[in-house]
Amino acid sequence: MNALPVPTSLLERFWRAARRWAVAWWRILDLGTVVLVLLLSPSSWHRAQRSRMARQIVADTLPILLGFTVLVALLSLVLTRIVVVTAQSYGLTRYALEMVVRVLVLELIPLTAALFVAMRATIPGGMQLAQARQRGQRVGADAVRLDAVPRVVAGVYASVTLAALSCAVALVMAYIGVYGANLAGLGGYTRVFGQIFTPQITLVFALKTLFFSLAVALIPVAGGLHGPWGGAAAGTGALARMFAVLLLIEVVSLMGNYY
């Protein structure tokens, strides 16, 4: 930031900020399209690239899988218990299960999984990319093909896997929290689950999870490739954009579900 000239007027400062904002978003979209093109081109799937991608996937997903699953199980159990006890005190037990599933599985868990992947995998990866670019190790198409694509794919994969696993765990915990550790309520639970997940809700849920994963995978990597140099500075702008996109996706999904 010190390298930039000091703006002379408010209008010029506003213009510079708007241009930076537009360029940053354009770079994210550009990276997304480039990664998509590279994924669709056979030259990106040679042995070394596949091995690099597999290593990145395993490195980004496996270490956080167990910890996040335990965290989600505890969170689900506590929230389910709170909702069920509160609903019982108001005589609304029949609505407790639906509320738990809607709040946990549809809204909280995908967002939590995306944020967890961003914090543990993609934001540090973007900062590594920024440091490497600062050192001038790899730039241009090589950086995208060799560094960005595996990280983006690994980020999307980790986000989707964590969301799927944590939703399954949350469903099991919600069942245990409402019915206890027995199979007596499985029929009714399955019916409620089927009533909640209408085709429209399911589509919104799938799209939301996909866009969450794309946001947490693309934005930090784009920040690392094109953003300002420096460890902490590289992550700040990308982090803000990523949170803004996650918020926007969440709002749009809520509008799709309930309006």
């Binding site: 490497a132 399954a168 019916r191």
Partner: protein, 331 residues
């Protein structure tokens, strides 16, 4: 973050990388496929169903996917809601085949919309021995809406409040009645009191004390009369039952009754003797009747003898020419 390794440094070697990556991919794929299959199962995609069409005039609150229950157990799901040509609503319900036996030809279906919670479709089967409901059957649904009664309740409440306003308004009947009550209370507290209220005026009320005085006098006279009647009763008692040395009339009456009883016994004995006399008289009479019978025979004999004597006299007279007296004297 400062101590992160440089990006060109090779990632740390992962043992069995290919196997782990494959297992991870398979795990994720299995998770997603399993979730999709469970969702399809929960939505009833693998369930054999039969169609039931419920016809109603209002589908408010009904949504695709909601349950139709029988005795509280869900047995079917709403699949489609269509508006028919005649303006009625056709609610298509998919009923699971394994639960379809609860629905009979005589089953009744209700669409109830409560104040709290969603709309519910319920099925009732009174006679489970009736023929089962056919696939694709159309049935009317009885609609009950607790919320629809609220306007009626509000209208009733408004009418009640209007009536209350009318009752409590200035110049209303209730106000007039309260005025009358106040007037009555004032008259009750007035000089005449309750008597004036009951008699209708002070003049009539003033007659009441005179009437009371007359009644008192009558009572005192009645008391004196009663005293005299008591004295008369005491005298009668004394004469009847006696007092002190005087035995009274009752012992004498008792003695007279004893004498009468003795007389009656004697009369009874006399009558008994009269009976014996009569029996003897009957025996005498019977003897007299027998004697009379014998007298008849005797008379016949006498008559025969007399006739013979007459004949004889006639013969004598014919033979005896001196005697002209032919009169005969019977013995």
């Amino acid at each position: 973050m400062v101590h992160e390794p440089p990006t060109d440094a090779p990632l740390p070697p992962v043992a069995h990388l290919r196997l782990k990556a494959l297992a991870l991919l398979l795990f994720t794929a299995a998770l997603i496929v399993g979730s999709v299959l469970y969702l399809l199962y929960a939505r009833g995609a693998f369930e054999a169903t039969q169609r039931l069409v419920l016809v109603t005039d209002d589908s408010e609150g009904v949504s695709v996917g909601m349950d139709m229950t029988f005795s509280g157990f869900p047995i079917g799901r709403v699949r489609t809601i269509d508006l028919a040509d005649d303006g009625s609503v056709h609610i298509a319900v998919d009923v699971a085949r394994r639960e379809a036996h609860w629905l009979r030809e005589t089953s009744v279906f209700t669409l109830v919309r409560g104040l709290v919670g969603g709309t519910t479709i319920k099925a009732y089967s009174g006679v489970l021995s009736d023929p089962p409901l056919a696939d694709g059957a159309e049935r009317p649904v009885i609609r009950g809406d607790a919320g629809a009664e609220i306007p009626q309740i509000l209208a009733s409440a408004r009418q009640l409040l209007d009536n209350l306003n009318l009752i409590t308004a200035q110049g209303s009947e209730l106000a007039a009645a309260l005025t009358q009550v106040r007037t009555l209370a004032e008259r009750l507290n007035g000089p005449g009191g309750a008597m004036a209220v009951l008699m209708g005026g002070d003049a009539q009320a003033k007659q009441i004390p005179a009437l009371l005085e007359q009644a008192t006098r009558l009572l005192s006279e009645s008391r004196a009369l009663m005293a005299r009647l008591d004295a008369m009763g005491a005298k009668a008692d004394r004469q009847l039952f006696g007092q002190g040395a005087d035995a009274g009339l009752l012992p004498e009456v008792r003695a007279s009754v004893a004498q009468v009883s003795g007389l009656l016994q004697e009369a009874h004995q006399t009558l008994t003797r009269v009976d014996a006399v009569l029996a003897e008289a009957q025996a005498v009479g019977r003897n007299a009747r027998e004697a009379t019978t014998d007298l008849g025979a005797l008379r016949a004999d006498v008559e025969a003898s007399v006739r013979k004597v007459e004949g004889l006299l006639n013969d004598i007279n014919r033979k005896w020419p001196f005697a002209r007296d032919t009169e005969l004297k019977l013995p």
